[in-house]
């Protein structure tokens, strides 16, 4: 196993949302705008890293039979702590993402990485895996949020101030001015359509890459 493999796994080949298709509940619920997606992505990434590192550190002392309850305990503690910190220091963001933060506890990607990866690998690999799985998840959240916001409201980066402070207000880009809005994109079905399109795009890119690869040896003969 190399770092490059872990990075490739997390971001692309084994992407939490596009390939493993887990943790969809928060993914579909919060991605009505790009900033919402980014906010949940960052929170999930932090928790993935914290839980992966901790679980990797304690993996040798935890008896096999009780590893799952202990993983759940650790993840639940981290999520609760994250929620409190967010409520204390990013209150506006908390108002939007608040109800989804506790959902991270049941986000299968966190316990999934704990069980599949962190409990079997040294801490440096576990850290990179958490980071990269988180990035992969955030990437999809941002793409989906951006897609839905663009179609639904005709803007990008709206309400950036809730994450980056008042100065970020001018980050908002109005792509189509005088846009009537496209309700379906903002409603939950829009999330399913959007995710479906993103998965199709990924599969198409993979297929294209595979075709290219298989062509290359032909020429080399």
């Amino acid at each position: 196993m190399t770092y490059i493999e872990i990075v490739h796994d997390g971001l692309w080949k084994n992407n939490v949302s596009l390939v493993q298709l887990i943790g969809l509940c928060p993914l579909l619920a919060v991605t009505s705008t790009l900033i919402n997606g980014l906010g949940l992505g960052v929170a999930t990434t932090l928790i993935l890293i914290a839980s992966n590192v901790t679980i990797s550190l304690i993996r040798s002392i935890v008896p096999n039979e009780i590893r799952l309850p202990i993983f759940v305990l650790i993840i639940a503690s981290f999520v609760t702590i994250t929620e409190m910190i967010m409520k204390a220091f990013y209150y506006d963001l908390y108002l939007i993402l608040g109800i989804f933060i506790p959902l991270i506890v049941v986000n299968c990607s966190v316990i999934g990485r704990a069980e599949v990866f962190a409990s079997k690998n040294p801490v440096n690999y576990a850290f990179v895996d958490g980071l990269m799985m988180g990035f992969g998840f955030t990437f999809v959240l941002v793409m989906l949020g951006g897609l839905r916001e663009l179609l639904g409201y005709g803007t990008l980066f709206a309400h950036a101030e809730i994450m980056f402070g008042e100065t970020a207000k001018q980050l908002k880009i109005i792509i189509f001015s005088d846009y009537q809005g496209f309700l379906l994109a903002i409603l939950p079905p829009g999330a399913f359509f959007g995710l479906g399109l993103l998965i199709a795009l990924k599969n198409w890119l993979d297929k294209k890459a595979a075709v290219n690869k298989s062509i290359v040896p032909l020429y080399s003969y």
Binding site: Y91, L95, L187
Partner: protein
């Protein structure tokens, strides 16, 4: 042998539970104060959008009472009223009310009224209306809610306290009439409540806030 293993597991689990709970309560004690401040600041921000801060000199935040009136305030739960006074004289009140008949359930709103009974402003605190259609009642999304400013039971007769489709003066949204209709009705009812209970509202001693 098995017994020993079980004991070891139990102790392990307990240790992790204690550590986890310890970390959570440590964070809680460090953030509790800030969270409380944030919640108050958020409410105060809304309140001062309704009653301009230099018009009163009491503590709007603690000079409250709770009342219950399910026909006019929309719920059988106790609702908070914030009272603004200057040098002891009543200036304005901000009433919490519920529009029970929104498209997607209840809409929680704050209605600011001056002593004479004119609307100083209305704000939506919580709702589940359809994004993109009914959520125009939010000040972040549109300025529709400002249409209530300066209105009162005397500026508009009962029949005009309605959305345009029902023959009133308030705009509806294209594709969403139910939401604005519910809000208009709730504001109207709140004003009626205020008119009927004004003297009581300002006379009653502040309700002690339970922690």
């Amino acid at each position: 042998m098995i017994k020993e293993k079980m004991l070891r597991s139990a102790i392990m689990l307990a240790l992790f539970a204690i550590t986890g709970a310890g970390l959570v309560s440590l964070t809680h004690s460090h953030t509790e104060q800030q969270i409380k401040l944030n919640e108050q600041a958020a409410l105060l921000r809304t309140l001062s959008a309704l009653v301009i801060p230099n018009q009163y000199d009491n503590k709007l935040f603690t000079d409250t009472l709770t009342v219950t009136n399910d026909t006019l305030l929309g719920s059988d739960e106790p609702m908070t009223i914030y009272r603004a006074r200057k040098q002891g004289k009543p200036v304005a009140a901000v009433l919490t009310a519920i529009a029970p008949d929104g498209y997607n359930g209840r809409i929680l709103l704050l209605v600011g009224v001056n002593y004479q009974g004119s609307v100083l402003g209305v704000r939506i605190i919580a709702h589940q209306e359809t994004p993109g259609l009914g959520d125009g009642i939010e000040i972040r999304k549109s300025d529709w809610i400002l249409g209530f400013n300066h209105q009162s039971l005397t500026t508009l007769s009962k029949d005009l306290w309605k959305v345009k489709r029902d023959g009133g003066v308030f705009d509806q949204f294209s594709g969403a009439t139910i939401t604005p209709r519910a809000v208009v009705k709730a504001v109207y009812n709140t004003l009626i409540y205020y008119q009927q209970h004004r003297d009581q509202i300002f006379a009653v001693k502040p309700t002690q806030k339970d922690k």
